[in-house]
Amino acid sequence: MSTSAIPNDQLERILPTVNDLLSRMNKVFERLSLTTDSALVYELARGDRK
């Protein structure tokens, strides 16, 4: 798998957008508690998984 770096000029262009998104997400995450499960938990008990 490639791990090629993001060129600096591209980083400069996209970082403000990414930083804005991450800071807004951090605010959103304040509502999470220890017991909040993930939407991606593998649900063996569901009828769908027969």
């Binding site: 957008t17 990414v18 998104l21 999470l32 909040t36 993930s38 939407a39 009828g47 769908d48």
Partner: protein, 453 residues
């Protein structure tokens, strides 16, 4: 002619499958040079398939309402022996050796495949302004985008080049072109239609559905496309229902929720008025209109956007050393996703669970929600910003704000036309339902369609 009308004409022998296919191929020949809705047209195989289906009807073998109906597939859905580009330079020569599940199901239902429709590169965008295959243009104004990512599908159905087209929807990619092109687009519940053989973009957000010219046609198409498939681990065993609404269609006892917050803010006046007029008129069909406050949609959209950035970048990481193969906008999004930490992705999936629980509470008080599909009609090709309530906003973020979150919830959502602007451009409204209640969503849609037409 729509699917129901074509089916009636075929069974009364007023037209043959071959003639119906020829009509569509003629329209493609006449209109596609200007609209660029198709990347590949399969003239010879379509005619042969249509003739075979005519013979079957002559022999008394009728495959049902899609027998002999000419359709098109979005060009990221695998078709055996037919090039499937995903609108990408990376896959411009890719010829699959198998059919996606939706392709084989629609084939078994008797459809005729006319070809493959154009899309936003890798389905990662809302304009279908494709740098490798050229822009798809809106039939209602050639200087306008058809929406995306299933832009070719929307344009093809809007001008009768195909009676139905498949689309995919990760953040609005069926409903946006439906709204901008004036056709019907259905994003079913997550897991209702198999994703097997469809190039993924966001594994936990991708949905497959039909674009058609009427709601009843969408119901017919969904019935053929839906159902369990053990090759897609997200595919549901929920039974496939009878989706085609009766005619005329009553809404007696149906509680239609109209959001007081978010969905009617930052919307063009014409769109807001058109949707609100339709909502009021549903009461004449027996519906009960209920004002509701929905949970924070901006929060839901942020969660969906974060999940998509990470999931799309994970899928395309192996190709990131071929940067020149991507268009600028898609490359920027893929690079953005590479900067989303794993912790943020996991917490976004946890927020998604929390928000889903909050939205399910709303679902216990109403049977569906009605909102605008897009806040405006189709923007111009190349337009990056639009003005809304005196503020300039990014076209992509504005266009997806009423639908991106619905992909994170996985709820079914239908876009149907609800009139035209003063510039004669189509406007759409969205019916959002509870999981696996496509039958109710389609019933509400058909009733509204009967009112609007």
């Amino acid at each position: 002619m729509n699917i129901v009308e074509a089916g009636n004409a075929l069974r009364k022998r007023k037209i043959s499958c071959r003639e119906l296919t020829d009509e569509c191929l003629t329209k493609i020949q006449d209109l596609n040079p200007a609209l660029n809705a198709f990347i590949t047209v399969c003239e010879d195989s379509a005619r042969k398939q249509a003739e075979k289906l005519d013979e079957e009807l002559e022999d008394g073998f009728d495959r049902g309402p899609l027998h002999g109906i000419p359709i098109a597939h979005k060009d990221l859905i695998c078709t055996k022996g037919v090039r499937t580009t995903s609108g990408s330079k990376l896959f411009s020569d890719y010829v699959p050796d198998y059919d996606a599940t939706v392709v084989s199901r629609l084939h078994e239902a008797g459809t005729v495949m006319l070809g493959k429709t154009g899309l936003h590169e890798l389905a990662y965008g809302i304009t279908s302004n494709n740098p490798h295959f050229g822009p798809v243009r809106n039939p209602h104004g050639h200087d306008r985008v058809p929406g995306g990512s299933s832009g070719g599908a929307g344009a093809a159905v809007a001008c009768g080049m195909a009676l139905m087209a498949t689309g995919t929807d990760t953040g609005g990619s069926i409903r946006i072109p439906a709204s901008f092109c004036g056709v019907v687009g259905l994003k079913p519940t997550y897991g209702r239609v198999s994703r097997y053989g469809v190039r993924p973009l966001g594994l936990s957000l991708d949905h497959i559905g039909p674009l058609t010219s009427t709601v009843r046609d969408a119901a017919i198409a969904l019935h053929a496309m839906a159902g369990f498939d053990d090759r897609d681990s997200s595919c549901s065993r929920e039974p496939v229902l009878e989706y085609v609404p009766p005619s005329p269609c009553s809404l007696g006892g149906v509680r239609i929720g109209v959001p007081q917050n978010y969905y009617f803010e930052g919307v063009a006046g014409e769109v807001r008025d058109a949707v609100q007029t339709v909502v009021r008129n549903t009461e004449s069909l027996g519906a009960r209109v209920v004002s509701v406050r929905v949970p924070d949609v901006e929060e839901l959209n942020l969660v969906a956007r974060t999940i998509l950035l990470a999931e799309a970048s994970a899928l395309y990481e192996p190709y990131m050393d071929q940067r020149a193969s991507f268009g600028d906008d898609v490359l920027a999004l893929l690079d953005q996703g590479r900067l989303v930490p794993a912790t943020v992705y996991v917490n976004a999936q946890r927020m998604r669970r929390l928000l889903l629980q909050e939205w399910q509470t709303i679902c216990s008080t109403v049977d569906c929600l009605i909102t605008p599909t897009t806040p405006t009609a189709a923007p111009l090709i190349g337009q990056r910003e639009m003005e809304m309530d005196g503020r300039k906003i990014d076209v992509r973020l504005a266009t997806t704000r009423f639908m991106r979150g619905v992909n994170a919830l996985g709820f079914p959502a239908l876009s149907i036309p609800c009139g035209k602007t003063a510039e004669n451009l189509p406007m759409g409204l969205q019916v959002i339902g509870r999981p696996f209640e496509e039958d109710l969503v389609l019933r509400v849609g058909a009733a509204i369609e009967d009112l609007v037409l």
